[in-house]
C-alpha cells in the first residue's frame, strides 16, 4: 500500500510540476475567457453614443422613439432636409439619419419604406438595437391605431398559455426544470466521456513510456506490477481531480467577474449566451423568456445529488477504464500505432455510452437508458443523464444503487483482468501483440 502511494506521488508530482500542466489547467480557461471577454468588449464598446437624426415627414413617431435610459443609441428629431442631413453626416454631427417618407403609413399599406443612412457601416449589435427599438415603437403605434391601449397590451402579453405537465408520481414539472435537467445531464455525461478519454490515454502513454524507456523491469524488481499500475492510475486520477477543481474555481470566479466587468452585458443576455457554463441555461431561457425561470428551475434540481453522483461516476469510470488503458499500453511497443488498433475495443463501449446518453437525456426511463445506466462499461456516462432528472423521475434509488454496485464490481473485474495482461506485457519486447494474445495472458494462471 505504501508503495502504491509512493508511485502515485511520483506520477502526480511529475505531471503537476510540468509547465504544460499549468498551461492547460490555468491557461486554457483563461484564454477562453479572454477570448470571450474580447468579443464582448468589442461588441459592447463599439457603440459609444450613436446619434441618429430622425426626419419624420409622416410624423408617425410623434416626436419620440421608445427610449431606454442609459442606452447608447440616441434618437434626435430634426426638421432639416435630407441634403442638409447628408452634409451634417459628413461633418460627423450625426452618425446616421433615419428618413420617414411622407406617405409612409404604419399599417404597412404604403409602398415607401423607412430609409436609414449612416456615415460608416453599422456594427451588428448597434444595428440590432436600432432595429429593436424602432420596430417596438412601431408595433405599439400599430396596436394603438387598432384601439388597443398600452395597458391592455401589457396584460395580454403577461397572460401566457400555461399547461401543467406532471408525472405519475404527482409532482408538477416545470418546463424550465426539464430543459435544465436536459442540459445538466448532457453536459455532465459529456464531461465524463471526455475525462475517460483524456485521462485514460494519459495512463496509457505513461505505461508505454515506462516500457519504452526500459525502466519497467527496474521498478518491477522493487514493487509488484499491480502496485506500479495502481500507483500510476491513482496518481493520474489525482491530477485529473485537481485539474477539475481548479477549473471549477476558475469558472466560478469568472462568473462572478463577468457582471462586474461588463454591466452592459445584461442588456444582451437574452440573445447572447456568454458564459460557457450557462450555455444550457440560456438555451432554456430562450424558451421561457425569463431569467427568473432559470433560477427557479435551478433551485429545483438536486445539485448535491448530481455533484455527488458526478464525482462517484467520474472516479468509478476512470478507475475502471484506466486499468484497461494501462493493459493496452503494456502490450504496445515503441510504435504507438500498435496501441491504436488495440485501443478500438476499449473505445467502443465509451462511444456507445455517449450514444445511449443522448437518448437517455430525452427519455431517462427508456429501456435502452436503463440498460446503459446499469451496464458498468457505459453507466458512468449514461447514468449522469438520468440522475440529472432527479429521483424518482429520472432514476429510482434501487437502480442507482444497483448501478453503483455494478460499477464497483466492474472496476474490480477490469482491474483484475488488466493487471494480468499488464504484468506479462510490461516485460514483453519486440513482439506485435494481438487481442487474442492479450486474452491468453489474461486467462493463464500466474
Amino acid at each position: 500500500m505504501n508503495k502504491i502511494s509512493l508511485v502515485a506521488k511520483r506520477e502526480f508530482l511529475t505531471r503537476v510540476q510540468k509547465k504544460t500542466f499549468l498551461l492547460t489547467t490555468i491557461g486554457v480557461p483563461l484564454l477562453i475567457f479572454a477570448f470571450y471577454a474580447l468579443i464582448i468588449f468589442f461588441s459592447v464598446k463599439s457603440t459609444d453614443n450613436f446619434t441618429i437624426a430622425v426626419l419624420d415627414k409622416a410624423n408617425i413617431f410623434n416626436g419620440s422613439i421608445d427610449s431606454k435610459k442609459g442606452s447608447d443609441v440616441i434618437f434626435k428629431f430634426v426638421k432639416d432636409d435630407t441634403s442638409v442631413l447628408k452634409n451634417k453626416l459628413e461633418q460627423k454631427e450625426y452618425d446616421a439619419y433615419l428618413y420617414v417618407p411622407e406617405n409612409y403609413s404604419i399599417t404597412g399599406k404604403s409602398t415607401d419604406s423607412l430609409l436609414f443612412r449612416s456615415a460608416k457601416t453599422v456594427g451588428i449589435m448597434t444595428r440590432e438595437k436600432i432595429e429593436n427599438r424602432i420596430s417596438k415603437t412601431l408595433e405599439e403605434k400599430r396596436l394603438m391605431s387598432m384601439n388597443i391601449s398600452k395597458s391592455q397590451l401589457d396584460s395580454i402579453q403577461n397572460q401566457k398559455e400555461s399547461i401543467t405537465f406532471s408525472s405519475s408520481s404527482g409532482k408538477t414539472e416545470n418546463q424550465t426544470k426539464v430543459g435544465l435537467s436536459y442540459g445538466v445531464g448532457f453536459v455532465s455525461g459529456f464531461m465524463i466521456y471526455i475525462i475517460l478519454f483524456i485521462y485514460g490515454t494519459m495512463v496509457m502513454r505513461g505505461v508505454v513510456e515506462e516500457k519504452v524507456s526500459r525502466i519497467a523491469e527496474v521498478i518491477i524488481s522493487s514493487v509488484k506490477p499491480f502496485q506500479l499500475m495502481m500507483g500510476k492510475i491513482v496518481g493520474i486520477g489525482a491530477v485529473g481531480l485537481l485539474q477539475f477543481i481548479i477549473w471549477g474555481i476558475l469558472i466560478f470566479a469568472i462568473q462572478l467577474l463577468v457582471p462586474v466587468l461588463f454591466p452592459q452585458l445584461f442588456e444582451q443576455m437574452q440573445s447572447q449566451p456568454v458564459q460557457p457554463g450557462m450555455m444550457a441555461a440560456a438555451e432554456t431561457a430562450k424558451q421561457s423568456g425569463a431569467l427568473s425561470g432559470i433560477m427557479n428551475g435551478l433551485s429545483e434540481i438536486n445539485f448535491t445529488l448530481i455533484i455527488g453522483c458526478f464525482i462517484f461516476y467520474f472516479l468509478g469510470g476512470y478507475f475502471m477504464y484506466a486499468s484497461l488503458f494501462a493493459a493496452v499500453g503494456s502490450a504496445a511497443n515503441e510504435d504507438m500505432q500498435d496501441a491504436q488498433s488495440l485501443l478500438l475495443p476499449i473505445m467502443m463501449p465509451i462511444i456507445f455510452g455517449i450514444v445511449i446518453m443522448m437518448q437517455a437525456v430525452n427519455n431517462p426511463n427508456g429501456s435502452l437508458a436503463v440498460f446503459g445506466s446499469l451496464f458498468p462499461l457505459t453507466s458512468p456516462i449514461v447514468m449522469m443523464a438520468r440522475v440529472a432528472h432527479g429521483i424518482p423521475d429520472g432514476v429510482t434509488v434501487f437502480q442507482l444503487v444497483l448501478s453503483m454496485v455494478f460499477l464497483i464490481l466492474g472496476f474490480f473485474g477490469t482491474t483484475w483482468l488488466a493487471a494480468k495482461i499488464y504484468r506479462t506485457g510490461i516485460l514483453m519486447y519486440g513482439k506485435k501483440v494481438t487481442w487474442k494474445e492479450l486474452w491468453k495472458w489474461a486467462v493463464k494462471k500466474n
Binding site: 527496474v218 524488481s221 522493487s222 516485460l427 519486447y429
Partner: protein, 311 residues
C-alpha cells in the same frame, strides 16, 4: 560459509519452451557468482524468478536460510536488469531518491546514502540534471548506484559493463569487489568470459534451460585442462622426442607439448635438462573459459532459443 541463495529443482515452462528446466545450485554469502550462458539459455528467466518477478512453476528458492518471500525479500535484493532504463525527464537526484524509497528506505536514509555514493563516484554535480542529458556511460553509473544504494544482501547485475569505457568499467569493478568484501553477494550475468575469469569465484553455465557446468573458475579450468604445456628454450635444441610427451606445435624458441598418459610435467623438464638446454619458461596452458563455453555450447548443438518458432 552459509548460503545466501539456494535453488532447488527450479522449473519455468512457457507455452512453447522450457525456459528453465530443473536447475539447482547454491551461492555462498559474500561470493561473486557468475551466471553464464548463450542468448536465450534461460538466464533472464532464472534471474526474474530470483527477483520475484516470475513465480517458478516448480521447485523452490531458499533465500538466506528461509523460503523466498518475494514481497519482503526483494527489499534485500538489488537487480540491474539487462533491459534497463531510467525516467528520461526526471532529475537524477530525485530519481535516485524515488528508486531508493521504493526499496523501502526512508527519505532521510536514502538522502544520506545517495550523497555518499554520488561523492564516491564523483557524481555530485549531476543532481539537477536530467537523465536525457547524460551519456550512456554516465547513466550506466547512475543505474549501478541505484541498484546498490540500499545495501542489499544480494546484488544481481545483468551485463553491468556494457557501454562503459575501461576507466569507468574498472571503477565499477572495484566497487563490486568492495561490496563483496563488505558481505554482499553478487550474481553476475554475462557472456563476456574474460570478465568472468577476472571477477567471479564461482560460476554456473546454463544452456537450453539446463545447468551444464557448476564450480569454481579454477576448478572448472582444471577439469577441462588437456595437459598442454608451453616451454621456452634457449639455444639450439636437438632431440625433442620422448615417450613422455607429444609435440603439438613448434614455435620460435620453444614448443607446445601435450603430456602423454602416465607421465608428469617433471618428465618433460627432465628430458630437456638432460639435453642440456636452458629452460627459460615452462607453464601449463589452461583452457580459457571462452573455449570451455564454446566447446560446451556448440557440443550441445544449441540453437538460440530466440529464433525458435513460436506460434
Amino acid at each position: 560459509m552459509s548460503k545466501i541463495l539456494e535453488l532447488q529443482a527450479l522449473r519455468k515452462y512457457y507455452a512453447t519452451q522450457k525456459a528453465v528446466d530443473d536447475i539447482s545450485f547454491s551461492i555462498e554469502k559474500g561470493s561473486i557468482f557468475g551466471l553464464l550462458g548463450p542468448n536465450g539459455a534461460g538466464k533472464t528467466t532464472l534471474l526474474r524468478m530470483i527477483t520475484g518477478i516470475f513465480y517458478p512453476d516448480m521447485g523452490e528458492i531458499v533465500f538466506d536460510g528461509q523460503k523466498f518471500d518475494p514481497l519482503n525479500d526483494i527489499q534485500q535484493i538489488g537487480y540491474m536488469p539487462e533491459e534497463r532504463g531510467l525516467y528520461k525527464k526526471m532529475k537524477i537526484g530525485e530519481q535516485a531518491l524515488y528508486l531508493a524509497q521504493l526499496k523501502g528506505l526512508s527519505k532521510a536514509e536514502a538522502m544520506q546514502k545517495i550523497k555518499f555514493w554520488f561523492k564516491k563516484l564523483e557524481m555530485e554535480t549531476w543532481w539537477n540534471k536530467k537523465v536525457e542529458d547524460l551519456s550512456k556511460g554516465m547513466s550506466q553509473k547512475l543505474q549501478f548506484v541505484t541498484t546498490v544504494l540500499h545495501e542489499p544482501k544480494l546484488i544481481i547485475l545483468d551485463e553491468p559493463f556494457s557501454g562503459l569505457d575501461p576507466l569507468n568499467a574498472n571503477l565499477i569493478k572495484d566497487e563490486i569487489f568492495g561490496l563483496a568484501q563488505r558481505g554482499s553477494t553478487i550474481i553476475f550475468s554475462t557472456h563476456r568470459m574474460e570478465q568472468v575469469e577476472e571477477i567471479c569465484d564461482h560460476i554456473v553455465l546454463v544452456n537450453l534451460g539446463k545447468k551444464v557446468l557448476d564450480g569454481s573458475v579454477s576448478g572448472i579450468k582444471q577439469s577441462f585442462k588437456e595437459n598442454k604445456f608451453s616451454i621456452k628454450l634457449q639455444g639450439e635444441q636437438m632431440n625433442a622426442n620422448n615417450p613422455a610427451f607429444t609435440i603439438l606445435e613448434e614455435k620460435q624458441g620453444g614448443y607446445v607439448l601435450k603430456i602423454n598418459e602416465g607421465f608428469q610435467s617433471n618428465d618433460i623438464l627432465a628430458h630437456f635438462l638432460q639435453q642440456g638446454v636452458t629452460i627459460e619458461a615452462f607453464n601449463e596452458i589452461l583452457p580459457s573459459l571462452n573455449e570451455i563455453f564454446i566447446r560446451l555450447v556448440e557440443g550441445s548443438n544449441a540453437k538460440t532459443r530466440s529464433f525458435q518458432q513460436v506460434d
